[in-house]
């Protein structure tokens, strides 16, 4: 900043000049971000707000017809709807199993790979393949592997190990369909967890481990007192992302079980979607997805609060 002796009535002119200069500085910046901002506002922010508005109406998809304002009715209807609660429970179950499942397996693979190994890069790439493969494709592969007649899983567990009948129906059973989808979810996610944890592990300075070794820490001690605490920010990130992902699970349920049998694989997503696009109750569908969004958002904040602390080393 320049220090300038100002004469009082010149001050206003100077201020105006400065405002003008500031506007000229800002103009190209806003011009640069405008196209992206418009696209984002139109297709993300506006729909988010629109869904909120919709959720208070008996919303009519036909723009010519008017919609009836319902107040909180769609929300009270959801809270009194047994299928809503069943879907909610399914989603919680799915998250409780798949989130730790993926994290533990992913971290295990990352720990095994976090050393000098021949073919380390190859392992990493191959474990990652399910992550990049379309949900539609992997869902059908799993439907095939879990076929009741002649599927690989029934052949292995039924014909060879005799732990289950060799004609077990997986996706058609109210008790087994959701666990089958959980296996799919975990299988598809392990690679992502591995990559993130591996990066986290590699960001831990090596001297810490050396100091700990000199102090007589064994490998468990090093893991417990160095690796885990220092991985905490990564664990926080992964947990939040996985919980969001688990709660948003949709495609396998949608294409393999349609939420069935008897709503045993219904999630808030499939239920909201079907209310909107099969029963054309857009308002109710929007309310269901909104309850869910609010819940996930709050949960993310709580997780970040709990898991994220500054770590100094």
């Amino acid at each position: 900043m320049q220090v300038i002796q100002t004469i009082p009535n010149r001050g206003r002119m100077r201020r105006r000049k400065r405002a003008w200069r500031e506007a000229r500085r800002l103009l190209p910046i806003y011009a640069l971000i405008l196209p992206g901002l418009v696209l984002f506002a139109v297709w993300t922010i506006y729909p988010l707000l629109d869904a909120l508005v919709m959720s208070f109406f008996d919303w009519n998809p036909n723009p010519a017809a008017s919609s009836t304002f319902l107040g909180w009715d769609n929300y009270t209807k959801a809270f009194a709807d047994p299928i809503f609660w069943q879907a909610f429970g399914n989603v919680i179950e799915y998250a409780v199993v798949t989130v730790p499942g993926q994290m533990i397996l992913g971290l295990t693979v990352a720990l095994l790979l976090d050393r000098k190994l021949a073919a380390r890069g190859l392992f990493r790439v191959l474990y990652y393949l399910p992550v990049i493969t379309s949900w539609v494709v992997v869902s059908f592969i799993f439907a095939y592997l879990f076929s009741s007649q002649g599927g690989l899983v029934n052949w292995l567990l039924g014909d060879n190990l005799h732990v289950i009948p060799d004609t077990t129906t997986w996706l058609g059973s109210t008790t087994l369909a959701l666990p089958t989808l959980m296996v799919l979810g975990i299988w598809k996610g392990v690679g992502w967890n591995m990559v993130i944890f591996l990066a986290g592990l590699q960001s831990i300075p090596n001297d810490l481990y050396e100091v700990a070794s000199v102090d007589g820490a064994g490998s468990w001690g090093r893991f417990r007192y160095i690796t885990l605490p220092l991985l905490r920010p990564v664990v926080a990130f992964v947990t939040v992302m996985l919980v969001i992902g688990a709660f948003g699970a949709f495609i396998p349920m949608f294409i393999l079980t349609q939420g069935g049998p008897e709503h045993s694989t219904e999630t808030l997503m499939t239920y909201g979607y079907n209310n909107a696009f099969s029963s054309f109750d857009f308002g109710y569908g929007a309310a269901i997805t909104y309850i869910f969004t609010a819940f996930v958002f709050a949960l993310s904040l709580v997780q970040l609060k709990l898991l994220r602390t500054k770590i100094e080393y």
């Binding site: 190209p28 971000i33 790439v125």
Partner: protein, 293 residues
């Protein structure tokens, strides 16, 4: 190895025991990793094997995946049925245009967020981050309503716009990169009379090539695989993208797994090739988000 040699006699025996233990440990690690790999890859082996298998062998006992009499029939049938070739073309055009739009717009936002102060910067950036917690499915009901008002349902443009708008993650990824560019570079550019736009296009973008590569791959894979918006907004078979075409195949030929998996293989191969070529950038991109958080 830094095993301290304490006395001249001891180290030899100790070292050999250590290496024996080490070899055992390493082989155990390989064994566990390989076992895991079998589980990760078996499903792909089945997809691939069965796509070459004549229908009579499929779902026989034991469930083999190496076809006894390999054939291309499934591929020929898949490619000719359900306008699959058209679907492939649709996927290519939609995914590439959406990716290009997504990355260039995300880069402009990320650059401004990272290098300039302007009113609204913090609010905008955190709003974008917050929308990452919203599953895309929540947006689909209102997006569908909006698209039908704008006559963008049943249109490739509608797909491209919605895919490109899902740019929060690209912005997040690229902002981290632009933040790390040295300030001297920015100062030098501004002394040389480069405005915001020139600095962005001439200096920042060329330097950001690795980060742009990562953002491009992420965006492309997401757009190539996207299912939900496509199935919601399209009902004209000529506009279907690959995931929809595959799903239609499966419901049309429930028991003809050979055709379904031939179609799946055609859809998966480009993704795998892109991933294998760029995996270094890709994996760096995935981890950058997490570690910097």
């Amino acid at each position: 190895m830094n095993v301290p040699a304490l006395s001249p006699a001891a180290p030899i025996r100790r070292r050999s025991r250590l290496t024996a233990r080490k070899i055992l440990g390493t082989s155990l690690i390989y064994l566990v990793l390989l076992a895991g790999l079998v589980i990760m890859l078996t499903p792909f082996a089945y997809m691939f094997g069965i796509s070459f298998m004549p229908n009579i062998y499929i779902l026989g006992t034991p469930p083999i995946f190496i076809p006894p009499h390999p054939t291309f029939d499934n591929y020929i049938q898949a490619w000719n049925g359900n306008s699959f070739g058209q679907a492939f073309f649709n996927s290519v055009t939609v995914a590439t245009s959406a990716t290009a739009l997504n990355v260039i717009l995300a880069a402009s936002l990320a650059f401004a967020f990272a290098r300039y102060r302007f009113p609204g910067r913090t609010v905008l950036y955190y709003t974008m981050l917050a929308t990452m917690t919203v599953p895309s499915l929540v947006l689909i009901i209102p997006q569908f309503v909006l698209a039908s008002h704008l006559h963008l349902t049943n249109s490739r443009t509608g797909l491209v716009l919605v895919y490109a708008a899902g740019m929060a993650f690209s912005v997040f990824l690229l902002r981290g990169f632009f933040e790390e560019l040295p300030q001297e570079l920015m100062d030098a550019a501004s002394i040389d009379g480069c405005g915001v736009w020139r600095t962005f296009f001439r200096i920042a973008l060329p330097l950001a090539r690795p980060a742009l590569a990562a953002a491009t791959i992420f965006s492309f894979l997401g757009n190539w695989d996207e299912f939900t918006w496509a199935i919601t907004s399209l009902n004209d078979q000529r506009l279907y993208t690959l995931p929809i075409a595959i799903q239609q195949f499966q419901s049309a030929h429930t028991t003809q797994w050979g055709i379904v998996f031939a179609a799946s293989t055609i859809a998966v191969i480009p993704v795998m090739v892109v991933f294998l070529i760029f995996q270094r950038h890709f994996i760096r991109g995935v981890s950058a988000g997490a570690v910097k958080g």
